[in-house]
Symmetry: C2
Subunit: 95 residues, 2 copies
């Protein structure tokens, strides 16, 4: 199975069980990270961008004041794939 294959509901639930704070929203997974300082959130955006370029998989990011929301989906598969779970795991190691 290619890593951008759409996963089953069961596989998504199993993957999210290991990703604290990540939730499913339809065909995407999302988490809002909170930071003590605005520029800490911006540093996280930069780390996320580097991880996204490495994975060639680019999340949507919404940047507010001391808050960054990440939303991941795999457009080519019309759902959530292993690429989404893998990038979420990579972001957990950054935050």
């Amino acid at each position: 199975m290619a890593d951008d294959t759409k996963l089953s509901d069961e596989a998504i639930s199993a993957g999210l069980a290991g990703l604290a704070g990540w939730e499913r929203e339809g065909d995407a997974i999302t988490k809002t990270y909170a930071f003590g300082a605005y520029m800490d959130g911006i540093a996280f955006v930069n780390g996320t961008a580097e991880a996204a370029e490495t994975a060639d998989h680019h999340p949507d990011m919404t940047v507010g004041y001391k808050r960054v929301t990440i939303t991941l989906t795999t457009h080519s598969s019309g759902g959530i794939s292993q690429k989404d779970l893998d990038l979420a795991a990579a972001l957990e190691s950054l935050a």
Copy 2:
């Protein structure tokens, strides 16, 4: 008039006339910037963050693939203020 005073509709329209691509959406002004490369958009996010810290006025940013949408409002005044127009002008010089 303090620079965070809520502006009149006329003053907002006059201000936006000088800001190409910026539009009013209710109590905010917004523009979507497009970039030739993903990391160019991230560089713009960093420039925006620095300008935001300097102004102590923080926009909402939505970062997609090669696209960054900026939304500015002045929460303390419940509307659009000169601070929003000034930061929009500063971002125009970055993009």
